[in-house]
Structures are given as C-alpha cells and as structure tokens.
C-alpha cells in the first residue's frame, strides 16, 4: 500500500499564546515547535502499522511550509516515514494548502491519504475533506480505528452520540484521532537514519487565497474565583441556582 501522511508544525501544547503587531500576528517568541500530535500519534503511526502488515508498502510524509518545518519533518522520518515532500509555501488558507496537497497526492498515486483530525493551532478540521474533494476521492473523518484487508478498509468513526462502523475501498482519505494507534517514540537508530532519508522540496503551483486573518484576540480572563467552604456545599448549589442561574 502506498500511504501519504499529511503533517504539520504547531506550537508545543504548553505554549502561552500571545499576539503581536496590534494583534495581527501570532507571537512566536520562545515558542517550541512540535509535530501536530494528531498527525504524529495517530496518522503517522497508523500508516506505519499498515506498512508493517503489508510488505512492499511505503509511507511518505507531506507538509506545506517553509524550511523552518524541516526539523519536524525529520522527526516524522525518525519515527518511521520513508520519504518526505515539502511544498514550499507559508499560508494559513486551508483551501490553498489542501489544493497543493491534493496535486502532489494525485500525482503520487497514493492508495491512502491520512491526516490528523485537526491541527492544534487553527483547529479547522478541514484539510482531509478538502483534499478528498480536490482528488474526487471518498473521505472518512474522525476515524478512531482502521483495519485493512485485501483493499477493503473497515473504519470506526466518531459521530455525535456514538460511533459508526464504515466499510470503504481504496483510494481513500481519512482523518485520524485518538484510538487509531499507540504513540511511538523515535529511537536513536531512527533519528540517525532520518538524516539521510529523502526530503524533496517542490514549489506551489499557485498562491491564491480565499481567506485572510484580520486579527487575533485572547479569551477574556476570569474575574476571580469565588471560594465556598467544603462543609457548606449547599452554598455552591445556591450560587449556581441563584447567582449563575445555571441549574
């Protein structure tokens, strides 16, 4: 099976989020960058599991970004990706990003394209669906399990109020979330090997965007906590009932 895993670079989960330039830009000062957890823990590892099951399979990584993403790509290769492609474009427009991914995916003739369920920076959860439509391929979103047997893929997908078991055929695009795979950590051999694995850089075919970020805002800070004594639980219920009017 030929598998393409879309990966992206995001701020570490412990990052304090701040904005600069009149709140028009994300403040990157002191930010540690990581591989998006959904891409790393679920999409990539699932791809590796499938590869281990079926000899002759390959796992390619694909990202859209400038050279500063390379360390993240190397990490993906260290965990087990065979090769990587970087589309040399810095954009926050999902439509454009997905269009570029789809062109590479289509040309590469992949059986399966995996993405994380969302990135933890823009939380848009759209790349998989956009790529699928650009490729005119079926799409299963928010998968928490996936098995493949002689080209029939069985997937567990989250829905509100439960889960669906879906049967699909290849080629297919799937977005991955918790449950898909067990997180793996790169070992020394992987890290050393990653340095010599191929990383191909391609230029975008266009740069037209449909959206533009105008500005950012931080959530309003809490005004302070009202403490209630542990032996006066009735007071908490009264506050929720009469003051917050929620119960």
């Amino acid at each position: 099976m030929k598998i393409l895993v879309c990966i992206s670079k995001v701020p570490d989960t412990t990052s304090r989020i701040a904005f600069t330039n009149n709140n028009t830009q994300f403040d990157e000062t002191d930010i540690q960058w990581i591989l998006n957890p959904y891409d790393e823990w679920y999409a990539l590892v699932k791809a590796l599991e499938l590869k281990e099951q079926e000899s002759g399979s390959v796992v390619h990584l694909l990202t859209v970004g400038t050279a500063d993403v390379d360390p993240i790509i190397r990490k993906g290769l260290a965990i087990g990706g065979d090769e990587a492609i970087r589309i040399n474009l810095n954009s926050a427009d999902s439509y454009l990003i997905a269009q570029q991914i789809a062109q590479v995916a289509q040309a590469g003739g992949y059986d399966l394209v995996l993405t994380g369920k969302e990135t933890i920076d823009y939380n848009s959860s759209v790349i998989g669906g956009l790529v699928a439509e650009f490729m005119n391929a079926p799409y299963v979103s928010l998968a928490s399990k996936l098995t493949s047997q002689s080209n029939v893929v069985s997937i567990e997908r989250e829905i509100e109020g439960g889960e669906e078991i879906i049967e699909a055929s290849l080629p297919l695009v799937v977005s991955c979330q918790k449950g898909m795979a067990e997180q793996r950590i790169a070992n020394m051999k992987g890290i050393m090997g990653a340095r010599s694995k191929p990383l191909k850089v391609v230029e975008p075919t266009n740069t037209n965007t449909q959206t533009k970020i105008v500005r950012f805002e931080l959530p309003p800070a809490k005004t302070g906590v009202k403490m209630v004594a542990a032996d006066n639980v009735a007071e908490l219920v009264r506050l929720l009932h009469e003051e917050a009017k929620i119960i």
Binding site: I120, N123, S141, E167, R215, V233, I246
Partner: protein, 317 residues
C-alpha cells in the same frame, strides 16, 4: 442569493446543533438582506416544516436510502445550493459537518472557516470569529471569495426561536452509490453527547481509579449532565476515549463545567476554558485550575461530591 443551512440528523431526529446552525444561518441572511433555506438529506421523524421557527423559509428535502457518505451527500448539497442560488453555506462544526463543509468549499470554490463562534461582521467584507489554539485564542478571518462556507461551533450560538413555518420542497435528485457504507452504528445509550451537553461533570486522576466513578455518574445523572475526564484517565482506560477533553481531546463550551480532582494543566484548560461557568473541586488549594474557575471548593472529592449530589437533588426533580 440565499443562505443554505445543512440540517443534520441521527436516529430519525434532527440534531440540536442543527437548530443552532439554522438560527445562525437565518441571522446571517438578515444581515445580507436575503432568505435562509435548509437542506435535509434522508428521512426524519421530526416536524420539518416546524423548522421555520428557527427562521428558515424553505427546506429542500432530498430522499435517499444510502447511509451518510461525505462525497455523495456533498454532491446532493451542491445540487441544492445551485438551485437555491446559495452564496453562503452554513454547517455545524460537528462530525458530519466536518466531513461535508470542506467538500462544498471545493465544489463552490469558496473560502471556508470552521469553528465559528459569532455572527459575521458584514459592514466591510465578511469577517467571522473562530476559535484557534484549541481555545487559547480567537481569530477574526475575512472570507474574500464570493461564495462562503462556515461551520458553527456547537454551543456557541443559542437557537433563536420564532414562530414561522417552512415550506418543504422535494428535490428530484438521486444520489450516486457511495464508495463508503455505514454497516453498523453503536449508539452511546442514554448518555448526553459531550459536544452537545450544556452541563458537564468531569473528573481526573484525583479519583484514584475507575471504581470510584459511581459518584461522578450519579452527580451527572442528577443534573442531566454529560461526563468527561482528563487525558491520563482516558489513557489509563478508566474511562472511554470519547470522554477525554482538552487540547488533544474534545473541546467543549458548556454552560457549566464541574472539574473534580483535575489539576488544571494548560492542555486540559485549552479544551474547556470556553465553558461559561467553571466549578473546581480539588483537595489542593494550589491547584492551577482554581485560577480558571468561577467557583471553587478546596476539599476531598470523596466527601464533597456525594454531598453536592444530595444538595442538587433537593432542587432538581
């Protein structure tokens, strides 16, 4: 020109998140001085004409026996969008909306913004506010294309209920056979789905083990809340994965979030800090969660929670 809202359903019933999307779409239509219409694919037991009370004038209904498939459903919605002359498409940012909205964006060559929490500003272009950094921030995004696709975060936009009725127009369109097929649905019996819940009771590692969740479930049952948990709790298999909230789990914005024995790590807070009211119960007065809370009790969960449950029972039948 019109605003088209996708009406999602499960088990024969229209999803509450669709009521929010319908109201949102109707308000967008007012801003753009046009009408909002809905599209429904498949059959529901509910009163479809009654959806007029959320402000839609018409519901286009497409019959099909096929189970949900993003590709074929998207094609049907596209058909309706063309017929309705839709310029703005509205979805709920729920599992089916996440599968469909991007496909429609490509079909209509439309800019797409998901996870929207407020009505757009339309005085200068079309600017929507969305959550970013998993709840640690918001972005205002301008959609510059002539056609637009937005999806609304559940629990961010309260349904506005008026009195109208919608006309129903049956669309003579046959879906192609999908390439994916739902062969089984496992319903989470009797539970309130977490993303739809207005009240949530959540617990963390402070509870020591899965055997102690009885009091959490009882409290949730008393106030009709959904249950949630921190990541290590789900990772240890104490609770199912779909209850894991936070930056790498489900992000929620209920009216009330009660956090019991959860320290309040930054990754946890990211998923819940849009809750309207946060109550924290923790035995450690230094727990970081208190800084993000509205009400707090320093105490042992094993003593406080049963008492709280009993007090709630006095005011809730």
């Amino acid at each position: 020109m019109s605003v088209l809202v996708y009406i999602d359903h499960f088990d024969g019933h229209i999803k509450p998140s669709s009521f929010e999307a319908l109201s949102y779409g109707s308000e967008v239509a007012k801003l753009l001085k046009t009408d909002a219409v809905g599209v429904l694919i498949g059959d529901v037991k509910d009163d479809v004409a009654g959806l007029g009370k959320y402000g839609v004038k018409k519901v286009y209904s497409v019959a099909t026996d096929f189970t949900f498939d993003a590709q074929q459903y998207a094609q049907a919605i596209h058909e309706v969008a063309t017929k309705a002359g839709a310029d703005v498409l509205v979805f709920s940012h729920n599992p089916n909306g996440k599968a469909l909205a991007p496909r429609l964006a490509v079909r209509l060559q439309a800019g797409i913004v998901t996870g929207v929490v407020e009505l757009p500003k339309v005085d200068q272009g079309f600017v929507v506010k969305k959550t970013v950094f998993s709840g640690k921030g918001f972005a205002f995004v301008e959609i510059q294309s002539s056609k637009k696709v937005v999806s609304v975060n559940p629990n961010s936009f309260k349904p506005i209920v008026g009195s109208g009725t919608a006309t129903i127009e049956k669309i003579d369109y046959k879906l192609n056979t999908p390439k994916t097929k739902v062969i089984k649905v496992n319903k989470a019996e009797g539970e309130v789905p977490l993303t739809e819940a207005t009240l949530v009771v959540s617990a963390g590692r402070g509870l020591k083990g899965p055997e102690n969740w009885g009091m959490i479930e009882s409290l949730a049952h008393t106030i009709h809340a959904a249950t949630a948990c921190s990541r290590p709790v789900a990772d240890s298999g104490w609770r199912p994965h779909h209850e894991h909230v936070g930056q790498t789990g489900v992000q929620i914005a209920p009216d009330l979030y009660i956090a019991i024995g959860i320290s309040g790590a930054i990754q946890h807070l990211a998923g819940v800090n849009r809750s309207k009211v946060i109550v924290v119960i923790n035995k450690d007065p230094e727990a970081p969660f208190f800084k993000a809370a509205d009400y707090g009790i320093v105490g042992d969960a094993f003593e406080v929670v049963p008492k709280l449950d009993a007090e709630f029972k006095k005011i809730i039948k």
